[in-house]
Symmetry: C2
Subunit: 422 residues, 2 copies
């Protein structure tokens, strides 16, 4: 009998009625002849309410205790979903992350799954039960402490369990119809993507696409687990995130979509001595603070001064900390000044067709130029081109690029990028 | 270093401010030179809110899932108390019932503790942490399922942990000052009891006194663990529930207090054939339904008919079920009719001095007679006399008896029962 792993997010479990609706969908999946293992998030606003409570007793709660508190959220929703299923006459058993064998490292608040030993889940499935598992949580391998996985943790739980159980598919239910060619709030003509490769999805997620978190996609890619992202509010097919078997799918569109990201800031280190090791020293100081940087640009140095400017982007949330670090080593590094800019936006064009179709970058730059949008930084991967613009020009940029690559045509999937020689 | 186990109930943990107040008290206990292990209930109305949620998704939720849901309540409060302690600069570690080694039988909703293996607790205490444990919950020995202990479960957790840890005292914090000679809502002159024996407390709890649940007292008595019942809203001494070392304390008052109970109903089986085995058949039918009965009275049979009436009391919640059972075996048992009466009240006078002071019953009956209160049933133990009255006369009865035994005198403890010859 096929095994389906489903994951329902908090917006699909907002209240008792939503829970009953989700229970009905789970029972239907079971009745269609599947074994079903379901991963649930906390109900609607529960996590925020728990965080408010924590904040009310302590401005800086210990992470171990915060994990203990937050894991109560999924515990409630998993029990309620099980009850709602029982009320429909089917039989369900709920399990915490720890009971489900979700083994993590020891890092509270953002633990990584290092193993899944789903013995109790398999047993319950074999006994004919529907299984409900608390997402977002696990138990640490060494200290046996309760951990949480951080943002997107429930999706990761679902994919990890699906892989461990050798499920046929992992269905991620959310409140939108799937992955879109761009954020529909910015591009009203954005289309739902029917199929996207794991590799493309990984670049989209890393570039700011919000529906699937990067780590979940990475996990699915590592284990070759197909994901079906779909709405819990309809029965339409959503987006299939699939594993390419070596060769690219020749039928696939060249461009998968346009992602955008407003979460980064830019720091420019002005007047760095253009001698070997200077850039390394800058980034070593940053790395020592566990701050990840994204794009880096180094200007050609001025011959007269022998000095240059280095710019890089990083999460806004780490911005002030990075500035403080660099100020503290200013004398040592010998630069002239620091500029901090959090009014930037990043646009990323993603598509595995870029490998075989030259000219994508040229079309991208021309589309931005035609819209009067200045490009401040550029970075590329094999299947992605990213540019930094002014924050207030980002929405226009996304729309212009979406149109330039034929993504908002009525039958967009059929539009083949022509390589016009630009 | 002395080890103190404290238990805080939901009314002491109603909101963030209450939690901070409790944390302060815990830290003070630690600073006074104790190791501290704290058992917490769910915050204020949390359990009721969770039950409402369960009810909204299923009228008859599976007990396993209900336990999974309800145990989220203590999980939240224990994490929040730990955070509040950390915020005061001390270090706390919270543990679920399962993590704390509270091993129970397999009965969901009203599991019994069968063992406590507090390895992780001892380790955390030895490492210098304050330990916070979720009350009311455990893990079943055979099935490794999460269980709850039912009413008064957190008190029982505290006493069981105190016994397993060989604590010096188990402090039960509540919203009243201790155990009273009668319910102060009925007897405004009721006094706080300073010291009461375990045996007396057990009779008080079994007779309807609400502050400590019977099973918790039984557990404390079995392990000889002294309990200090006190208010979390003051620093006054509360009531010590202590273990007598064989001999009765000669300084102790003869009468400990007056308990009352409105939770029972009376069933009278009319016209039972007064032949051997008839009463046994009645109570066998009841017992087969797992219904506990309390008092039993059999009238002297009428010589003319050779028939008699048998009356017994039982929890109101089981009343209708017991009536149905008896109706179903009416032909077999050959009685004439059933009378069901849920307008009764029970008054119990408890005191280990009864053993050595005759005349207590006589004084009790006279006090009731003087107040015009009719006695419908009587039962006694070595240190208790209980009578059944009309429900609407019960409050008057409690006040009359409380006065008759000098319990509401200003210096009541010094009043010695005189045995006036009545």
């Amino acid at each position: 009998m096929p095994l389906v792993v489903q994951k329902y997010g908090g917006s699909s479990l907002a209240d008792a009625d939503s829970i009953k609706r989700v229970a009905r969908r789970i029972v239907d999946t079971r009745k269609a002849g599947n074994r079903v293992c379901v991963v649930v998030s906390a109900m609607g606003d529960t996590t925020d309410e728990l965080l408010d409570l924590a904040d009310a007793v302590s401005p800086d709660p210990p992470e171990r205790e915060l994990d203990m508190l937050l894991t109560a959220g999924e515990r409630m929703s998993m029990a309620l979903v099980s009850m709602a299923i029982a009320n429909l006459g089917d039989s369900a058993r709920s399990f915490t992350g720890s009971q489900a064998g979700v083994i993590t490292d020891d890092v509270h608040g953002r633990a990584r799954i290092i193993d899944v030993t789903p013995g109790r889940i398999t047993e319950a499935l074999d006994a004919g039960h529907i299984v409900i598992v608390a997402g977002f949580q696990g138990v640490s391998q060494n200290t046996k402490e309760i951990t949480t996985l951080g943002r997107g943790g429930s999706d990761t739980t679902a994919v990890a369990l699906a892989a461990a159980l050798k499920a046929d598919v992992c269905e991620i239910y959310t409140d939108v119809d799937g992955i879109f060619t761009a954020d529909p709030r910015i591009v009203p003509t954005a289309r739902k993507i029917d199929r996207i490769t794991n590799e493309e999805m990984q670049e989209m997620a890393a570039s700011g696409a919000k529906v699937l978190m990067l780590r979940c996609v990475e996990y699915a890619r590592r284990f070759g687990m197909p994901i079906h992202v779909r709405s819990s509010f309809s029965h339409r097919e959503g987006t299939w995130v699939y594993e390419t078997q070596g060769e690219d799918d020749v039928e696939a569109p060249i461009i998968a979509g346009v992602a955008h990201d407003r979460s980064e800031a830019k720091i420019t280190v002005v007047g760095v001595s253009d001698s070997p090791g200077q850039a390394a020293s800058i980034f070593k100081a940053i790395a020592e603070q566990q701050i990840n940087i994204d794009m880096i640009v180094q200007n050609v140095s001025a011959i007269a001064t022998g000095r240059t400017d280095v710019s890089f982007t990083l999460p806004k949330t780490d911005g002030q900390r990075a500035v403080r670090v660099l100020q503290s080593v200013k004398a040592e590094l010998g630069f002239e000044q620091l500029q901090y800019d959090d009014q930037i936006g990043k646009l990323s064009l993603v598509g595995s067709g870029m490998r075989s179709h030259p000219g994508v970058s040229a079309t991208l730059f021309q589309a931005l130029a035609d819209s009067g949008i200045n490009i401040e930084m550029i970075s590329t991967s094999e299947i992605r081109v990213s540019v930094v613009t002014r924050d207030d020009q980002l929405d226009n940029a996304v729309r212009a690029v979406h149109t330039a690559f034929g993504l908002d045509a009525a039958d967009g999937e059929a539009v083949v990028y022509g390589g016009s020689g630009r």
